[in-house]
């Protein structure tokens, strides 16, 4: 901790005694290059985490926090963030207010009564810091536990029976929809997927056309044969779009012997 003091030390160079140990300069933990601030903010899980960090990195006793010092550092930090117009969670500001309140209470002359129950203004904060710290440690402990697919792997041996003997799970249509919804919600975080109902029938038609093209023995299938009167205009449009889309995706070829003659479809397969 023998680094050079930096921007926060302004006006505060006096020697400080903390828990019986002299401190000659403020640690520079608070100085972070501005472009790193955002990263810095992300590394803290909240105001308690930040406070704990400040305390730990100065070897301060959590049970006897020098509120003045910590408050100033904390507020300095918050100010810095705000000056840089960083998005700061409201909780950070609430904590700043709480610290300021504790600080002011500490500055007031303590009522010298024998009323020992008259709590130290820091008590609540200390309790919360301690509470948070133990769970922070517990989180590390849990993370360190051996876990499946990282430290342990399940052992399986295949059982060959008539596949029919193993009952197959039932699936409800709704669960597929829900699964897809989840997928889209996740995918939506990276890209915009525009899914519309109309697309579906075209997609289906694409599958059908492809299936027909690949099932048949003929190399070419007449373009016209994909259109049936029974489906009406809409059906024709859907089929047409499907063929165009397949064409665009390089899945089939539209072939014409000579101008104005009949069109043929040919799968680009095998």
């Amino acid at each position: 901790m023998q680094k050079t003091p930096t921007l926060i030390e302004s006006g505060q160079q006096s020697l400080v005694w903390v828990s019986g140990k002299p401190f000659y300069e403020l640690p520079d933990d608070l100085y972070i290059p501005p472009d790193a601030l955002e990263v810095f903010l992300e590394t803290f899980e909240g105001p308690l985490d930040l406070l704990l960090y400040l305390i730990k990195h100065q070897n301060l006793d959590i049970l006897d926090i020098p509120v003045l010092k910590i408050t100033e550092q904390y507020i300095e930090y918050i100010d810095l963030m705000q000056n840089l117009r960083m998005e700061l969670a409201a909780e950070y500001l609430v904590m700043a207010a709480m610290l300021a309140e504790i600080k002011s209470k500490m500055l007031l002359p303590r009522q010298l009564t024998e009323d020992a129950e008259d709590e130290d203004p820091r008590a609540e904060l200390i309790r919360r810091l301690q509470e948070y710290e133990r769970f922070k440690r517990a989180a590390d402990d849990i993370d360190a536990l051996p876990r499946l697919y990282r430290d342990n792997f399940l052992v399986t041996a295949e059982l060959i029976v008539d596949k029919m003997d193993k009952p197959v799970p039932d699936v409800e249509l709704e669960s597929i929809l829900i699964a897809f919804q989840d997928v889209l919600r996740r995918a939506d975080q990276f890209t915009h997927h525009h899914i519309q109902r109309e697309a579906l029938s075209v997609r289906e038609r694409m599958s059908r056309i492809l299936a027909r093209l690949s099932d048949g023995n003929e190399e070419f299938v007449a373009f016209n044969s994909f259109f049936t009167r029974a489906e009406g205009k809409q059906g024709a449009v859907v089929t047409f779009l499907a063929i165009l889309e397949l064409c665009k995706e390089g899945l089939l070829e539209i072939v014409q012997g000579e101008p104005m003659s009949e069109l043929w479809l040919k799968p680009i397969i095998e």
């Binding site: 899980e45 909240g46 919360r128 948070y132 440690r137 876990r147 990282r150 399986t156 041996a157």
Partner: protein
């Protein structure tokens, strides 16, 4: 057929831990081994595999074979994806639920000092590590979260008591009101939780299916 061999075959074929009851069910009534006999088989199997790269372990929902963790550097190469690294926010939330269960979201936020994102709760529920076991009888009736057997299975634990001990609070001479935190040594916290919600039958198992 030797009972031990049948149990061994079943443990290998199952994709999940098998409980003693599930193993007993493999046998027709007249051949069904008693619990004692099944346990004995476990002991023998544990011994049989002592020198092998796999081992029989007991987790919350039963027994399973798994690869000894000293082999994970090689075995992990079977999958291209790296195992997911969980965020601190998620781990802290999970830790609070694990040690303080049943816990409401508000209680988690109180401890962490920040709001808990819905995403985290949902991820934990999707992983089937936590579930709603009731609702607290306070305004808003917030959901009470608890960990599941799957959580214990995943982390190789038999019971919550196997979790690493939670650090104790240091004494402050400042005299902080002695609010107790739940002890994990026994089941009582969960039972306490249940008393809360037994009065309110509706909806309490709505998320069981997750």
């Amino acid at each position: 057929m030797d009972i031990k061999n049948i149990i061994e075959a079943a443990l290998f074929a199952a994709n999940e831990p098998l409980s003693i009851a599930e193993i007993q069910d493999l046998f027709l009534l007249e051949d069904r081994p008693d619990k004692h006999r099944v346990r004995e088989a476990f002991v023998q199997l544990t011994r049989d595999y002592a020198e092998k790269p796999i081992e029989l372990v007991e987790t919350a929902s039963g027994y399973r074979f798994q690869v000894k963790s000293s082999y994970s550097p090689w075995v992990a190469r079977l999958w291209e994806e790296k195992p997911v690294k969980y965020s601190r926010a998620l781990l802290e939330t999970l830790a609070i639920i694990a040690y303080q269960q049943p816990a409401t979201r508000g209680e988690i936020e109180e401890i962490r000092g920040v709001s808990v994102s819905t995403n985290i709760i949902r991820t934990l529920q999707e992983r089937e590590w936590i579930r709603v076991i009731g609702h607290k009888e306070v305004p808003g009736r917030p959901a009470l979260y608890a960990t599941t057997k799957e959580f214990l299975d995943y982390f190789n634990l038999q019971t919550l008591a196997d979790l690493p001990p939670l650090a104790s609070l240091l004494d402050m001479e400042l005299s902080v009101s002695g609010d107790t935190q739940l002890n994990l040594g026994d089941d009582s916290p969960i039972h306490e939780g249940i008393t809360h919600y037994e009065k309110t039958p509706s909806g309490e198992h709505s998320t069981d299916s997750l």
